[in-house]
């Protein structure tokens, strides 16, 4: 078994696992990232579009600093990072030890194709005879047993699904790279013992298993079996339970005592299933109910074979573990199937529809009916399928299905040029996130229909196969509508084998089987070194997943730091940093000498092209000083051969031609270091694809492939001739953070950063710390906020690394990452100058003011905060109240505050609950629009209904009316179900006014952060960089970011702290090799490049009157070089000479006319 040491193990390589891994890696920690699937990306790999942009944008997760340590291309295709080791088809099987010192046992299942060798040519797929439903396309299309797990990964290696593989061996024969290892011999080594007293059963089992190439022996009784077990080692024993001499259970017990590694499967008659279950408790792996057929037996045996024999186990020492295994979805076919899912062809789940809309989907992005391939004209979404339904044990909301349905409806409208009728049938439209409400409004404007009625079931028209839905309208009319297609918004279910994983990791599950985080700390579990990110605690949209993933990253890095007591990067030495000036040979004054290494790819090169032709072609260029052909560079042996050959070569640039140039990035860096050269002097080009892939153009005519390869090589050579070798200079980091705002968000962020050895200035406007937590008493779940606040404040007070400045404000912030210069005005009106490496904005928010619904005319009308102040404390008794009315969405989700404040609905439920508890006779009416009890807070809504709290919904067009006189408050509201106006005389009217942000214009201006339309902090990207400002080094958390609960606030605070630490953890930072530069002599100071830069990296310095670029902020996109009229703004490496040279090389040997003619063909 292999043994290794890593700082962190991240289980699950979906979007949240990737975020956590990148966060930790950027800080300098080593990460093992595993996933049970053979591809990365999780659910997001299947989704092409995300709201609210209706694009992807996943690449925005990639690091902005130390960019060259990782891959810098589409993240959906894959990822490399020097500090992350990715292990796919791998599961966590055991975890022992404690925080800071865990031993994890991982089991990697074989995919039967060597990913290092597979070139993705697809020849195997063409010959594979076995076709099954493609799970990537949710079963809407077919795939072969040998298949690509996702269509777009880089490198994209095939895998074999052994359950559907017939082991005909055709793929192994045709594979040109010898990548397939479907060898039969290993099966022959798998010894199976069949124990049954009936000869016929023994015989048929032997026959079936023999046919599958397993080695099978038979025993007629328990005693005989034990004898045979003593003679030779068996891997698997299949035993009957009812046998005359010795019962199967007894045999199991005896066998397991002597041979603990033996896998035992019980065979049982239907009547003795209970005994079989008992046997599993005694150590049997599984059981089979007789009679069974080969279709049941073989997959089970194959699975055991894969798990035990073929799977590779390895042990990993880790400091901490992060679980980010995500969720699965409710299966609407199980058990009642009210919607004919799987029976009616045009009933889909929302994920299946996403695949339909994708260009890599079963219909190439065309929305067609699945029965007759006709264009869909009418489509409906049914919400809450498997959510908010106690009959399927789901008294919870799945959080984002409303947004998924909105997005899909908008996409369908857009893709069909508005010609499709789209209807969403819903109960409450839960648009609780930042910017969700605006998206909902957009959908309404786009003509999406919204029908407030839960759909009970549907039927299919026998003739037309249209889907018929019956429902009642608001007024009680019974209506029937037909649709071409119906999409089921299926709800969340716990991730695969969550129970098993939670047992392994020692974490608690909630009653529904999701991971139960600790109160107030959403990433913390019951195990102090195990954390949870993303949707494993309940389905989340991308932004929330990413926030929770970074929060998990923060907790994990905290554990790593406290066990190593030093910044991780300095501990691991300079190896990880880029090559520096003094260590590399300066080749800028040497003549260009390019040495070419060509991989012959298993001597395929010689078969396809004439190597002599290529060599002589290369020698035509005097700068190409030498050539070498080496077989199989992808193997360790091949690479070593090349390295030893190169050591004797006198050249200063190296061109490597092989398949998958991406794969060589890390190896090339090591080689460059060894040869004392700048890594940019090495370049890898992909020549293999020219003759590998099935439909390669070179195939048509062997004579042209040689020149094709030459063209490719010359393009690479041109890159090398003009490569930039400017050294990347280290940028010293000011290792001190500024946190603005001393509420729970600011305090949590400050503590999180200071706990990792970085000093913090915490600036609070008020006299004391605490913010809104000073008046909040309890969460909806009943957790007291007071102790949290006291604990946090006392930890801040005792922390030597936190300097608290109360009654202070920020006067000015200048500079950029990683050195801001801050002027703080203290309580004594003194100005203090400090410099900081990163800034966290946590100025919070407050309850919005209102003057509607008679507020101010009577002391019986209060806001939620005023109610909390009056009755929030324990022991209060509202005995003098007879009736209470609460109006929700006061001025929210409509002008002037067109967003959901997210906290008011839970607060109303909590206050109603509290009032009811202290006064059981109280009549409580809650007048609401859509109840935003998303996730597991739905259960409190159900409870409130059960507690006889009256809920009355209203439309914004017909809001309730309030009349006050001296002694009474009268509320008039239309009861929508009864269709009658109600008059409620109330003793107390509570108005839920929502949250407004506190972000003064002066502060946002001096920090250089932007606000969204509602005055909240504007993120760099709403989905992928949710706590980052566009201006690097500034992060936001808490209510200034968006309305959220205390727990969710802490998640953003920890996320912001982790993002800041990715800069602050290191003494120095580096920009990428490709970064913008300015030729000051050519610059006319026209300043066009300043607004063109999407990363705000450029500014004009009045002192020297030059345009400057911040190397850390510049991401090398080249926008400045495009707008610059003088060629003064340039991108290192991407000079005009080089770009034109590459184009010339691509056309070498052909005239432009020929190229166009060929293109036309």
């Amino acid at each position: 078994m292999e043994k290794r040491h890593k700082n962190a193990l991240v289980v699950g390589a979906g979007i949240s696992g990737i975020r956590t891994a990148l966060d930790l890696a950027q800080q300098g920690n080593t990460v093992e990232l595993i996933d049970r699937h053979p591809a990365m990306g999780g659910l997001l790999a299947q989704l092409d579009y995300q709201f609210p942009t209706n694009h992807c944008g996943m690449c925005r997760l990639l690091p902005l600093t130390r960019r060259d340590e990782g891959s810098q291309y589409c993240l959906r295709k894959g990822m490399f990072h020097e500090n992350i080791h990715i292990r796919l088809s791998c599961e966590l099987k055991n975890l022992e030890g404690e925080a800071g010192n865990y031993t994890a046992r991982l089991r990697q299942k074989p995919t039967w194709v060597d990913p290092d060798r597979c070139v993705g040519c697809g020849l195997c797929e063409a010959v594979c005879p076995s076709e099954i439903a493609d799970c990537f396309n949710e079963g809407l299309s077919d795939r072969k047993a040998i298949h690509l797990p996702v269509p777009h990964a880089i490198p994209n290696a095939y895998v074999i699904d052994l359950a559907s593989c017939t082991r005909c061996g055709e793929c192994e024969k045709i594979c040109p790279a010898d990548a397939i290892q479907l060898s039969q011999s290993r099966r022959r080594d798998f010894q199976i013992l069949v124990v049954d007293d009936e000869l016929s059963i023994r015989d048929s089992l032997k026959e079936w298993l023999d046919e599958e190439d397993f080695s099978v022996d038979m025993a007629a009784s328990g005693g005989e079996a034990l004898d045979m077990l003593g003679k030779k080692p068996y891997a698997l024993m299949l035993t009957d339970i009812k046998m005359p001499e010795m019962e199967g259970t007894e045999l199991l017990e005896l066998a397991k005592t002597s041979y603990p590694d033996l896998v035992v499967v019980m065979m049982t008659a239907y009547a003795t299933v209970e005994t079989a279950v008992q046997a599993m408790k005694m150590g049997a792996l599984d059981y089979l109910v007789k009679p069974f057929d080969p279709q049941t037996l073989i997959p089970m045996v194959v699975r055991i074979f894969q798990d035990t024999e073929a799977a590779k186990d390895l042990e990993l020492q880790v400091d901490t573990v992060v679980i980010s295994t995500g969720t699965t979805f409710y299966d609407p076919a199980d058990p009642r199937n009210l919607f004919g899912y799987g029976i009616y062809p045009n009933v889909l789940t929302h994920i299946e529809l996403e695949r339909m809309l994708s260009h890599t989907g079963p219909s190439q992005g065309q929305l067609v009916r699945l029965d007759n391939q006709q264009q869909v004209r009418k489509i409906a979404w049914l919400q809450c399928i498997g959510s908010r339904d106690t009959q399927v044990h789901a008294d919870y909301c799945s959080g984002i299905c409303c947004m998924i349905a909105l997005k899909e409806a908008i996409l369908v409208k857009k893709m069909t040029q508005n010609s499709t009728d789209t209807a969403i049938f819903y109960m409450d439209m839960r648009t609780f996130g930042k910017s969700f409400q605006a998206y909902y409004d957009d959908a309404k404007k786009d003509g999406v229909r919204f029908v407030r009625c839960r759909i009970h079931s549907l039927a299919q028209d026998r003739e037309t196969r249209d889907l018929v839905i019956q429902y009642v309208s608001k007024s009680g009319e019974h209506l029937t509508e037909t649709f071409d297609m119906v999409v089921l918004s299926t709800g969340q279910r716990p991730g695969h084998q969550m129970k098993e994983l939670s047992d392994i990791c020692g974490v608690d599950l909630n009653p529904y089987g999701f991971i139960q985080p600790q109160p107030f700390f959403p990433a913390a579990t019951g195990n102090p070194g195990v954390f949870v990110g993303g949707s494993a605690t309940g389905l989340k949209d991308v932004a929330e997943s990413v926030i929770h993933a970074s929060a998990a990253g923060l907790n994990a890095s905290g554990v790593i730091w406290s066990h190593h007591r030093q910044a991780p990067l300095t501990a691991q030495g300079q190896e990880a940093g880029p090559v520096m000036d003094e260590t590399v040979r300066d080749v800028s004054r040497e003549p260009v000498n390019i040495f070419t290494v060509i991989c012959s790819c298993g001597h395929r090169l010689e078969q396809e092209v004439d190597p002599g032709h290529i060599m002589s072609g290369l020698r035509d260029d005097p700068e190409m000083v030498g050539q070498l052909v080496i077989d199989r560079l992808c193997t360790a042996e091949g690479w070593e051969n090349m390295v030893s050959a190169l050591e004797k070569v006198d050249a200063n640039r190296f061109l490597i031609a092989a398949c998958h140039p991406y794969v060589f990035a890390r190896k090339i860096k090591t080689l460059a270091r060894k040869m004392n050269l700048h890594p940019s002097l090495f370049h890898a080009v992909d020549t293999a694809r020219l003759f590998w892939s099935v439909d390669s153009p070179a195939k048509e005519d062997g004579s042209t492939s040689g020149s094709r390869v030459l063209q490719e090589l010359f393009q690479g050579a041109t890159v090398l001739k003009h490569t930039g070798t400017d050294p990347i200079m280290p940028i010293p980091v000011t290792r001190r953070a500024l946190v603005v705002g001393g509420g729970i968000a600011g305090m949590t962020a400050a503590l999180s950063i200071a706990d990792q050895g970085v000093e913090v200035d915490l600036v609070e406007r008020d006299k004391s710390l605490g913010g809104n937590c000073l008046w909040l008493t309890r969460t909806l779940e009943g957790d007291a906020i007071g102790p949290l606040l006291n604990d946090t404040i006392s930890r801040i007070g005792q922390h030597p690394g936190i300097n608290v400045h109360t009654q202070s404000s920020i006067k000015d912030i200048t500079g950029q990452v990683p050195s801001f210069f801050t002027v703080i005005e203290t309580d004594e009106k003194q100005l203090v100058n400090r410099s900081h490496g990163a800034v966290i904005l946590a100025t919070g928010g407050s309850e919005a003011r209102t003057d509607s619904y008679g507020y101010g005319t009577s002391d019986r009308i209060m806001t939620q905060k005023e109610v909390a102040a009056k009755w929030g404390g324990d022991g209060a008794n509202p005995a003098d109240l007879g009736t209470v009315v609460m109006i929700l969405c006061v001025g929210s989700r409509m002008q002037p505050r067109n967003y959901c404040s997210r906290v008011c609905c839970p607060t109303a439920l909590k206050q109603a609950q509290d009032l009811r508890q202290s006064n059981p006779d109280l009549d409580i009416y809650i007048i609401y629009r859509d109840m935003m009890t998303h996730g597991f807070s739905e259960a409190y809504f159900t409870r409130a209904r059960r507690d006889n709290i009256m809920f009355i919904s209203y439309e914004p067009e017909h809001p309730p009316e309030v009349e006050t006189d001296q002694n009474r408050v009268l509320v008039r509201v239309n009861e929508p179900t009864l269709g009658v106006p109600l008059e409620i005389e109330t003793d107390l009217l509570v108005l839920a006014t929502g949250v407004t942000p506190q972000l003064p214009d002066e502060l946002s201006a001096t920090m250089g952060v932007e606000k969204d339309g509602n005055g909240f902090f504007l993120e760099a990207d709403a989905k992928w960089r949710p706590v980052d400002s566009l201006k690097q080094g500034i992060y936001a958390c808490g209510l200034v970011h968006s309305p959220r609960s205390v727990t969710d606030t802490i998640a953003t605070a920890q996320a912001a702290a982790q993002r800041a630490l990715s800069i602050l953890s290191n003494e120095t930072q580096y920009s990428g090799q490709i970064a913008a530069q300015i030729r000051h002599s050519l610059c006319s100071r026209c300043e066009r490049c300043i607004p063109a830069c999407p990363y705000v990296a450029r500014w004009r310095d009045p002192e020297d009157d030059h345009i400057h670029v911040n190397d850390m902020m510049c991401q090398g996109c080249g926008a400045c070089a495009v707008v610059c009229p003088n060629g003064a703004a340039i991108l290192e490496g991407f000079t005009g000479k080089r770009m034109l040279g590459v184009i010339d090389a691509a056309f070498q040997g052909t005239t432009v006319k020929e190229v166009f003619l060929e293109a036309e063909k």
Partner: protein, 187 residues
Amino acid sequence: MKPESIQTSFNEVKEMVQACIQCGTCSGSCPNTFAMDHTPRKLWRMVLGDQAQSVLASKTFILCSSCYTCTLRCPRGLPLTEAMARLVQLARKANPLLFKKSHAFYDAFLQSVKNHGRVNEAGFMTHYFFTMKDPLLPLKFTPLGVKLMRKGKVAMPAFNFGLGRGSRPRGKMAAIFEKIRQMEQHP
């Protein structure tokens, strides 16, 4: 029946449907809504709004055919069919005049089952006509009767019409009905 005890029984029904969220599943599912004066959703809302009088004057629950579709599909898992049945019982006690016809029909039906272990269509209708004491009533049912008879849906017993309350239940039916009576008394 005393108004207090009606209120108590009504509150019991209210408790059964307390967690209702007015999603409309029951009304959409119900095959009889076309004939109802209030949809089930509206009826439950009225129950929750303590409108006992209007609820007990409605014919919605009389039209419930106990198909249990709403109960099966209700996302809150509420015992809706049972609640409907409770309302039927309550309405009969609270508004005997209003529900005279339906209850006479119901009683006649049950009596027939009691006596024969199944419905004897002709016998039970005759029983019903006698209870209603309306000479025109049989005429109203004639077209339906003829239609049913043509299709062979009406059993015509040669003897023992099972008339009157005097005829004794046969076989084990008496024991079954006695058990039901006991269960209803002590639920």
